[in-house]
Symmetry: C2
Amino acid sequence: MKEAVTLKQIAEKLGISVTAVSKALKDYPDISKKTKKLVRKTAKELNYKPNTFAVNLRTKESKTIGLIIPVIVHHFFSNVIKGIIAQAEKKGYLVIILQSNESYELEKKQLDLLMSQRVDGIIISLANGTSNFSHLNDIIAQEKPLVMFDKIAKVVKCSKVIIDDRKAAYMATQHLIDTGCKRIAHFRGSLLPQNSIDRFLGYKKALEDNNMVFDPALVYLCECGDMSFEEGQNNAKKLLNDHNDVDGIFINTDLVAIGAMTEFNKQGIKIPDDISIVGFSNWFMASVISPSLTTIDQPGYQMGKAAFKQLFKEIKAAKKNKTVEPEVITLDTALVKRDSTK
Amino acid sequence: MKEAVTLKQIAEKLGISVTAVSKALKDYPDISKKTKKLVRKTAKELNYKPNTFAVNLRTKESKTIGLIIPVIVHHFFSNVIKGIIAQAEKKGYLVIILQSNESYELEKKQLDLLMSQRVDGIIISLANGTSNFSHLNDIIAQEKPLVMFDKIAKVVKCSKVIIDDRKAAYMATQHLIDTGCKRIAHFRGSLLPQNSIDRFLGYKKALEDNNMVFDPALVYLCECGDMSFEEGQNNAKKLLNDHNDVDGIFINTDLVAIGAMTEFNKQGIKIPDDISIVGFSNWFMASVISPSLTTIDQPGYQMGKAAFKQLFKEIKAAKKNKTVEPEVITLDTALVKRDSTK
DNA sequence: CTGAAAGCGCTTACAG
DNA sequence: CTGAAAGCGCTTACAG
């Protein structure tokens, strides 16, 4: 690798001090215009780039943040990533991305890695496997800015960017009820993540508020752990076997919903005539399959932006040794009505 | 933010020199076992983490690489990202990701940003808007390891990880011919990227080798610039209007193919009876829609892994001031036969 | 086996 | 307006 140009080289070339060069480039008021002009010209000619390693060491900040995400290959998360990166770039921050693969052990290791790297702050969406939060509390104890989004832990005292999963699920279920469904099933995710729990609770509450019987047998867990297309197919098969009186399903994730719809289509079950379906997330495929899928719009890009904005606020505060009260930012969701419901 | 523990603090606590502490932690042979044990114990107790900023400044490497990608929210690219991150993590490298949004200007700026950040190497897939390559040649001139993948520039002298687009497109087209198609159209991407060109050439060659007429009117450009679902719908509509004798289409990308299929389904055109379709990339939705889509499998995850491996090789060589002959790594593709062809 | 010292490339308080 | 000097936290050649 070629050796990079340093302040010293510019200083020697111009016969002035390193101090003067440094100050000139940073536009300090106590440097003459003439010197500034000269220094800038020379720096440009030599293609001078400040050595970030040295700058970081002095300023104790890296202008870099870390992002830990359960899975990258996922429309919602890749939208969040895009939002975070876009916002970070605006503020001159770079983003290091790690994937926890839904594993608690990996998540812990990666958090450690980011701390070693001395990123200025961390944004994280928890792995499904995470039920112990001491690794997160450690970060907070070290006063490193930390923002959680989507898959959060309510008990951890840091800022969070979420949607109101319970309310959204309530809306989805209410829509099924409003369009005439009498017996409504729910495909929920795995047991742990807070948002699966909240969506389940929203579903249950909607039934209760409408004086409908809540039947635990109609709640299908995601056994394999990842919310996949196959999961939707399998649950749809089981449902047809065990409860063919069901006329509506609220499904945790569009991908699973599409899996289920594929199975229903295959078996000649008519959507929405025989069964109405509401998904969750508003993946673009939802508008595209046949019939198009009624779903809850989950604003991934906005969540990414909001998460970085909050982190940035906290990084600035931390620089001044101020602490910020953790904020919970709840973004709006909307029901997108399409053809999978009446 | 809490102040981090330094070597000096450990040294003072133990009443030995900073040098001894540093060497003990790095397991230098000239330190007594007793001292090493003591130092390690203390470091652990104090939760010592080396200050990367200082280490980077001394060692002149950051153990960080940069990745510039046209779009993140895209199944192929997010798979590549996953492959790169996984492989990088194995070797102790972190990955900074930037999105060029298919813009040449942004790509240039971001390359500059990564150079300023002094990443150890860069992996890039070019924006569609990039037709001038001086920003890439600058990187190479500075002897910074650089690997391109998928959307590459043939004239830039650096290592590349690609598939044989021409061969794959040939395979796809040959399959249409073998299954009885007589008049075969092609939906190609935008004009510029090398892989659109190569896929087009493969298509053309297959026709010629089979003594079929190549009709430029049957080649549909992607006007809007992004290869989208709507693009597929629009081109399908046009095709039905202008050339309803076409009985096979080779489509540049699965997403576009699925758009086209949706349009054909809507208009009552039977796939594959009226029109056979072959896509490109083997997005998981290809196996899931109805009818399932015959396509070319493009190994994104593998490409990511291979790209990092090559970059790692070049980073190691650069450290020893050796130069590496650029390598072109071509990964295998395969035709995945499904129900959209006979 | 141990440690004093130089140096990586910056920034900035201080003196002039 | 300018510059000498200290220091950020490491690593490592060198001396003992």
